[in-house]
């Protein structure tokens, strides 16, 4: 195996994964204050009003598609009775749709960040790198979704190649041959993605992990004590006026 192949398909992924894990740990410990979405809606809300939901819902759908495509082996879907053809068309249409929505939202957000002086001023170097990486990823991904999967005459079977390699990384037995045969665009997309995940913990993207789902089951009003709660006892008044 050539050094280049080892570097690209073994060392890079593991390095990225390690950075991803350690980076999160470090960031959460050292920069709890900076952990958030750093919204700029208060500075500009017209474009954000449609662009941000489009981008977020689009990219969440795309991420879900990636999970399905990479994690679930083709043999499993077939065992479940989903034909390769059926799966392909579902993935192609849903993927293209998600890609389109993401691109539209992303362009809106890019436009707003570069033209609105207020928003531009809040942009940090980390934001620039995030936008840079996202631009590549989103464009490649959407191109693949459209040109290859949806409209391509013979779409590439990434589930039997890139997917196999991806899963093999987590089994700690990297199957490099599975990926080296993939078309250039797929390979580029994979390499960019690892760079993206490596940078993820150092960007504002960490707000993804703070999606406040527990809010649903929480009481409305929260109280906190500065000091430990006293031992509660019932007195005559409380006994008389039991409150509903």
């Amino acid at each position: 195996m050539s050094a280049g192949r080892v570097l690209l398909w073994i060392i890079l992924p593991y390095l990225a994964l390690a950075t991803f894990v350690v980076g999160h740990w470090w960031r959460y410990r050292s920069d709890r204050f900076g952990w958030g979405a750093r919204s700029t809606q208060i500075l500009e809300r017209k474009i954000l009003g449609w662009a941000s939901p489009a981008f977020h819902f689009g990219i969440l759908a795309a991420a879900g598609g990636h999970v399905i495509g990479l994690v679930i082996p083709a043999s499993l879907t077939e065992a479940l009775g989903i034909s390769e053809n059926g799966y392909h068309w579902f993935a192609a249409i849903a993927g293209a749709l998600a890609g389109l929505v993401t691109v539209v939202g992303f362009l809106g957000l890019m436009y707003r960040r570069s033209t609105n002086a207020r928003v531009r001023r809040t942009t940090t170097p980390a934001d620039m790198i995030t936008y840079f990486l996202l631009t590549f990823l989103v464009l490649q991904g959407t191109w693949i979704a459209f040109a290859e999967n949806l409209l391509g005459s013979s779409p590439y079977h990434y589930r039997d190649s890139v997917g196999v390699w991806w899963r093999s990384l987590f089994a700690l037995q990297p199957d490099v041959d599975a990926v080296t045969g993939a078309p250039f665009l797929y390979q580029l997309h994979a390499v960019c993605a690892w760079a993206f995940w490596a940078f993820f913990p150092f960007s504002r993207l960490v707000h993804l992990w703070s999606l406040p789902v527990p809010y649903i089951g929480r009481p409305h009003i929260l109280y906190r004590r500065r000091f430990a709660a006293p031992r509660r006892r019932r007195t005559a008044l409380a006994a008389r006026r039991r409150t509903p």
């Binding site: 919204s39 941000s52 999606l211 007195t235």
Partner: protein
């Protein structure tokens, strides 16, 4: 029932001179930082006017606070939790900077550094958001000071809806008043309820509502959820910020900065004991006009021995209960009943209350001018509706539109003025005026002392926080965790002496915890506990 203490505030609008000292001192202490330039934890609005941010009182537009659903249950006006999560990527109700104003500074350096030239140098305005020069400044935090601005805009004030004919912009008929505003530190805070991260909370000890910035994730629903628009968003840090009621000062028994520096001496700070279990029911009464009485019914009389016993049992320290008895907030809201909550119809049960302003009888002044008899000019006892500030306007501000409440308060205030004028100027003693409003002469004179003389120690009755209670944290070590109300008890393992006053059960531990020779030290609890834990660990 569970009794808790709350630090509340009352502002006597009759005496606010609109000087903005409160706003400036607050800003210098709290919001003179990058990203906070546009924030005014304390601001003073001239009413009628659209306010800051613009039209904040129009909840059909901003959808802050609570409402009752069809079944009469309390819910956030902006919608349920699921709805919030779905709109998390773009909050539909968030004001933008333009609804507040674009903060600016001036190129002051230019005045000093300009080269020798024919014309005087000019310091141009520069945005503190973009850093760019501003050719025109078109809005500010106090743009409508003293009714400045166009006459048409008066009717953009949401409070004038329905009473447009009473709110006139012509000089001869115009009226105005000042409304200083801070966070209300509500009993039923919709900001807390709106925060998906759970970063906002109300303190059990003193009711102060705070943001935990370590947990704030920039979802900004608190900003839109507060009907008073008193949570702000720092666009640099991406975190919510709000009035803290100067808790570091309050904990030391000192008044807030805005109160301390208030030129008109209009502000009062004191404790109110309330039953936290009844808050939700009080906020849910169907008729908006009943909200005032509902909120009053949540407050408890600290002089009642039964209340005292339960408060002690619930951990309210003894000296706090004593302070609650002398609390000017309790006196003005409950005993004299001259203070009213701001916009009770938002159902947050706000805890900054206001004494509405008296104003002259317009028609008497107009006909007689300087010759007018002072007794006639302020004779609101008989006819509050003849006063210059329309009763309906005050009712929209302080009583959910119930004019009768305002009339009652104005009558009491006017009776006080009459009584004292009779006594001080004419040397007459006459009980008739107080009696007409259901008060005794003594009560009226006490009220006068509180409102007009307004001694520092009468205005601010703030017991210092009990930092020694931190000892209870240590005390809990090694207990079995079954030690709660109606719980099975402490497993019989540890018997503690409960003969002393409750709430001080840990007095012995606490003393050991304090530094010797100092009775009021500012303990850094977190650090001390950390040290203690480390010592324990090392010792083991």
């Amino acid at each position: 029932m569970t009794i808790r203490a709350q630090v509340g505030m009352v502002m006597n609008l009759d005496k606010c001179i609109g000087c903005h000292t409160c706003s400036v001192t607050c800003k210098q202490v709290w919001t003179d930082r990058p990203g906070a330039e546009y924030m005014w934890f304390n601001d003073v609005e001239t009413k009628p006017g659209v306010g800051y941010p613009k039209r904040w009182e129009d909840q059909e537009q901003w959808r802050g606070g609570w409402e009752l659903d069809r079944k009469g249950r309390l819910r956030l006006k902006a919608g349920g939790k699921l709805r919030k999560l779905l709109s998390i990527f773009a909050n539909p109700d968030l004001p933008t900077l333009d609804d507040y104003y674009e903060p600016w500074t001036y190129d002051f350096e230019q005045l000093v550094d300009a080269p020798r030239q024919r014309h005087d140098p000019v310091a141009r305005a520069r945005s503190r958001i973009t850093g760019e020069q501003l050719d025109e400044i078109s809005w500010g935090p106090n743009w409508e000071d003293n009714l400045a601005g166009s006459p048409e805009r008066i009717h953009h004030d949401p409070l004038t809806v329905g009473i447009e004919d009473q709110v006139k912009a012509q000089y001869e008929q115009a009226f105005m008043m000042y409304l200083p505003r801070i966070c209300e530190h509500c009993l039923n805070p919709s900001c807390v309820a709106s925060c998906p991260s759970g970063a906002m909370y109300k303190r059990e000890e003193d009711g102060i509502v705070l943001v935990d910035q370590q947990k704030c994730r920039s979802w900004r629903f608190c900003v839109s959820g507060c009907p008073y628009k008193k949570v702000y968003f720092n666009h640099r840090s991406g975190k919510a910020e709000k009035c803290t009621l100067c808790y570091p000062r309050i904990e030391q028994g000192q008044p807030t900065i805005c109160s301390e520096t208030c030129v008109g001496r209009i502000r009062y700070l004191g404790l109110v004991l309330y039953d936290v279990d009844r808050v939700e029911a009080a906020a849910s009464v169907p008729d908006e006009h009943d909200l005032l009485e509902a909120q009053r019914s949540v407050f408890l009389d600290p002089s009642d021995p039964l209340v005292r016993a339960q408060a002690l049992a619930d951990g309210v320290p003894e000296d706090w209960i004593d302070a609650a008895i002398r609390s000017p907030v309790y006196l003005l809201a409950m005993k004299y009943r001259v203070a009213l909550p701001l916009h009770p119809e938002y159902r947050t049960l706000p805890m900054v209350w206001y004494v509405p302003p008296l104003s002259p009888i317009a028609s008497t002044l107009e006909t007689d001018g300087y010759e007018a008899d002072p007794d006639e000019v302020f004779s609101a006892v008989d006819d509050p509706d003849a006063m210059r500030v329309p009763v309906d306007y005050l009712a929209n501000l302080l009583a959910a539109g119930d004019g009768e409440v305002i009339r009652g308060v104005l009558r009491r205030l006017a009776a006080m003025r009459h009584h004292m004028r009779k006594r001080e100027v004419l040397g007459e003693h006459d009980d008739s005026r107080p009696r007409a409003v259901g008060m005794t002469s003594q009560e009226v004179e006490d009220l006068y002392r509180l409102l007009a003389i307004a001694k520092y120690e009468d205005r601010y009755v703030i017991p210092p926080a009990h930092t020694e209670l931190a000892g209870q944290l240590m005390e809990q070590k090694g207990t079995c965790g079954l030690d709660f109300e109606d719980g099975p008890g402490n497993c019989g393992a540890i018997e503690r002496d409960v003969s002393g006053p409750p709430g001080y059960e840990s007095a012995v531990d606490a003393e050991a915890f304090m530094l010797p020779g100092e009775d009021r030290v500012d303990l850094d609890i977190v650090q001390m506990l950390g040290d203690r834990r480390r010592e324990d660990a090392e010792g083991r």
